[in-house]
């Protein structure tokens, strides 16, 4: 019980905005959403999102946090904007 309390304090829920583009937007059925999550990294966040949205596996996707490319193990902070991106196809 005490362990759970400490974890909740140190690693409390964060409010994260997630934006979806292109194929992922269609799969998610929305362009963005905001959620309160315990996910500490984009990897954990995507795992959580896949539980509620019909999103594809993360392999091949890229991640941006606050409009910068970041890796899947980047430490998220409260208020971050996270974007998961399908392989690009410009040009």
């Amino acid at each position: 019980m005490r362990g759970v309390f400490v974890a909740a304090t140190l690693f409390g829920l964060m409010r994260i905005r997630v934006d979806y583009f292109a194929f992922l937007r269609e799969r998610a059925g929305r362009a963005h959403e905001t959620l309160d999550t315990g996910a500490a990294t984009p990897r954990e966040l995507y795992r959580e999102l896949r539980e509620r949205r019909p999103l594809p596996p993360g392999k091949g996707l890229k991640v941006a946090v606050n409009d910068e490319f970041r890796n899947w193990d980047w430490s998220l902070e409260d208020g971050d904007r996270v974007v998961f991106m399908p392989p690009v196809a410009g040009g």
């Binding site: 934006d19 091949g60 392989p87 196809a89 410009g90």
Partner: protein, 138 residues
């Protein structure tokens, strides 16, 4: 105005070229990617581009800075369309002014290659028959 731009309107190549004017540069190389009427053997009716604009603009600007640095190009511009495009419409335009043609060609080639690899823009093809498809969708 940034040297890399996202545009919801048609690309005005004459205006872009004019922006490359530079009396020290003897060589200008340009590339334009246009919507083809077919792709990998399948008839195409049109395209739609969607873009993560904040990151596209910063990543595109990085590509341009790299091209200038690597090839000593004096001016490098790139503009990429978003929205609905018809057959023949310009989807992306790259223009480079440099002292000589080696550098101009190399920089133009670098920009279009890197933009296609790195800049968060996505293409959805519409076909005369069958549902539209996102290219490269996982």
């Amino acid at each position: 105005m940034s040297d890399f731009r996202i545009s919801a309107d048609a690309i005005d190549q004459a205006a872009e070229l004019a922006a490359l004017e530079d009396t020290a540069s003897g060589a200008v190389a340009c590339f334009c990617g246009r919507v083809r009427n077919h792709n990998e053997g399948r008839a195409v009716a049109g395209l739609q581009y969607e873009c993560y604009e904040e990151l596209a603009v910063s990543e595109g600007a990085r590509v341009i800075a790299e091209a200038k640095e690597r090839f000593g190009a004096s001016r490098v511009l790139c503009v990429h369309r978003t929205g609905d495009l018809a057959i023949g419409d310009a989807a992306v335009w790259v223009g480079v002014a440099a002292a000589h043609r080696n550098e101009a060609f190399a920089a133009a080639r670098y920009v279009i290659d890197e933009v296609k690899k790195r800049v968060p823009i996505w293409k959805r093809e519409h076909y005369p028959e069958g549902p539209a498809e996102w290219i490269n969708a996982p």
